[in-house]
């Protein structure tokens, strides 16, 4: 071995820790990857992209906090949540890719904006950019993780074995995300006048994007037994949010909702203006070097 170096002895020679915390393929090893019969695979692809893009785009947003959080502990926590969501996204894009004959990277880097299926809540700027602050970020995380946790707890029973396995694995992660967001919501709501004002402002900022989470898309309606109808989650999620807001002395914003665009929104590939910039940044290097291997 030519790598005679001072730290080799610290590592040992097994590779089990290689890319520690970033693996995902082992996570689903042993899971049956056959598609359920009688279901349109195109619909399963679309559904995997919806849930996968939600996670990918929100992960991209959360990772913007890395080195910018209010405390080191929070740098670590937000990066951890971003990593969990990135892991979920990779499993879901990989599943969609099995039908399309594409890799997770083809789907993440080579699709155009109109082909992304994530909800608007995942993509808007909630800080650390000019679109928000830590309070806004926590408001989004609270809503998103409460909704996705409710969704995944039902998705465990999906007729698609991969979706069921992704949900099973993601459940513990999402429970932690929701808990983290709920604790901060209460802390900020209760802490100081300034933190209360900012937390309330954060809720007001994200609230118009909540309604979209519960709108049933045609794909979801067709995938009976495979997909979860998001409309069925509303009362459970409302209950969770109400309890958290009450504990933080915060008020539920009025039920305003962002208008759709000619009847369409994120699930139809119609996004906000923020999305183009997000994708430009995320995709540019991959697209700049066609044929490169990473």
């Amino acid at each position: 071995m030519s790598f005679d170096n001072a730290y080799e002895s610290l590592l040992g020679h097994e590779d089990s820790h290689w890319a520690f915390g970033t693996g995902f393929s082992e996570a689903l090893s042993g899971v049956n990857r056959e598609f359920p019969v009688g279901v349109d695979r195109e619909d399963i692809v679309a559904y995997c992209l919806m849930l996968g893009d939600d996670a990918l785009i929100f992960s991209q947003r959360l990772s913007e906090w890395c080195s910018r959080a209010p405390e080191l502990e929070e740098d670590i926590a937000l990066a951890n949540i971003a990593l969990d969501l990135l892991g979920q996204a990779r499993m879901l894009l990989t599943r969609a890719g099995e039908v399309l004959g594409k890799s997770e990277d083809d789907l993440a880097y080579l699709r155009d904006e109109r082909d992304f299926r994530n909800v608007h809540l995942a993509e808007i700027d909630c800080g650390p950019g000019p679109g928000g602050d830590f309070g806004t970020t926590i408001a989004r995380l609270l809503v998103f993780s409460s909704w996705r946790l409710a969704l995944f707890s039902r998705l465990r029973g999906s007729a698609d074995p991969v979706l069921a396995a992704v949900a099973e694995k993601g459940l513990k992660e999402l429970a932690y995300h929701r808990d983290h967001a709920a604790q901060w919501t209460v802390r900020l709501g209760d802490g100081t006048d300034e933190s209360h004002r900012r937390m309330q402002a954060g809720l007001e900022r994200v609230w118009p994007f909540v309604d979209e989470l519960f709108a049933t898309h045609a794909v979801e309606a067709r995938l009976t037994g495979v997909a979860v109808d998001p409309a069925s989650l509303k009362s459970e999620v409302d209950g969770v949010l109400e309890a958290v807001l009450a504990a933080g002395g915060l008020s539920r914003p009025a039920d305003t909702r962002a208008a759709r665009v000619a009847g369409m929104a994120g699930r139809d590939g119609v996004h906000t203006e923020a999305m183009g910039f997000l994708l430009a940044e995320m995709q540019h290097l991959h697209r700049s070097l066609p044929g490169a291997v990473w």
Binding site: Y7, L10, T22, E74, D105, T192, E194, L285, A292, V293
Partner: protein, 316 residues
């Protein structure tokens, strides 16, 4: 009495045993350690920025996950090290202020810019590699909490180093454009990496006392030589060259001869004149100041909870 304590301290250090937080220690030892560990913690935290610069643009999802996990580890290292300074009576908030006010330093390497994704790999390979050479001896340093933190940090840094090298190996198997990108990055980072061992022994002011206290265990020049010896075969395996015309194997010494970095550039960057010095501090300052209201809220909430608990207990 004081002489007894001092004697016991000296004997503990000489016997290569550990000094623990409650043990008596000379003021100079305590101050030197706080300074050194804090600078190390600051380096981890500032070091999040140059690589964090590429998280949003990482060219594959696997690389994005690896990079995010790595930068997260750096925050963790900063946290262990600030905790180690707290065992010596320092305070994290106070040390953070010293950093953003420029009263304490961090590793000057992080004042260099990351210009391509190959820099992520080269930082892992050369910068983390040099850091590990500096840090492995610290796993045997005389102060217990520092030594234990360093064991954990060195293990994690070793994973990072291998990940960086593996990225470069992959890029070298890719397109010509990628190979050029790697070589360009090596050309930019090689000399700054050699500078990480500090000035030549003949000009280093802190070495002698730190060696006697066993805070430091090898001289700057010894470590630099070790790093060069290690890195040359790795570069050959990778298929890149180092930008040093004087680099060659010396049969007589059984080591590589190599040229000296530009020490004028080193001092210029150390004194604040690097491409990114002002930017790195401004970034850290903004995060700290923007987060003040959050930290205040957390403290206020904790205090209210404690008061409620006290009232409850008083009533019971």
């Amino acid at each position: 009495m004081a002489d007894d304590l001092e004697l016991r301290f000296e004997r503990t250090v000489q016997a290569d045993a550990r000094i623990e937080p409650r043990d008596w220690m000379p003021d100079g030892y305590r101050k030197t350690l706080i300074r050194q560990i804090a600078q190390h913690a600051h380096s981890e935290i500032i070091g999040m920025q140059p690589e964090g610069n590429w998280i949003s643009r990482a060219p594959s999802l696997r690389r994005k996950a690896i990079l995010l996990a790595k930068v997260q580890d750096e925050a963790g290292h900063g946290l262990y090290l600030y905790s180690a300074t707290e065992t010596l009576g320092a305070d994290r908030e106070d040390l953070t202020l010293k950093l953003i006010e420029g009263r304490q330093k961090y590793s000057s390497i992080f004042n260099y810019p990351t210009l391509t994704f190959a820099d992520v790999g080269v930082i892992g390979w050369l910068v983390d590699g040099a850091a590990i050479c500096n840090q492995v001896p610290l796993c045997r340093t005389s102060y217990g909490p520092y030594a234990r933190a360093m064991i954990r940090i060195c293990k994690e840094e070793s994973f990072h180093q291998r990940q960086g090298y593996e990225l470069l190996m992959t890029m070298m198997r890719g397109t010509q454009q990628q190979r050029d990108m790697v070589q360009d990055s090596v050309n930019r980072w090689w000399w700054p990496a050699l500078m990480m061992f500090g000035p030549p022994d003949s000009e280093s002011t802190n070495t002698e006392q730190s060696m006697a206290w066993r805070i430091k265990r090898d001289t700057n020049d010894e470590l630099r030589q070790k790093f060069v010896n290690m890195s040359v075969p790795q570069a050959e395996a990778l298929g890149v060259t180092f930008p040093d015309p004087e680099l060659r194997w010396n049969e007589e010494r059984g080591q590589y001869d190599f040229g000296q970095p530009d020490w004028d550039e080193f001092w210029q960057v150390v004194k604040g004149g690097g491409v990114c010095n002002a930017q790195r501090i401004a970034h850290r300052r903004k995060a700290h100041e923007d987060g003040a209201w959050v930290r205040e809220a957390a403290a206020a909430h904790a205090q209210k909870q404690a008061q409620k608990q006290a009232v409850k207990e008083g009533a019971a």
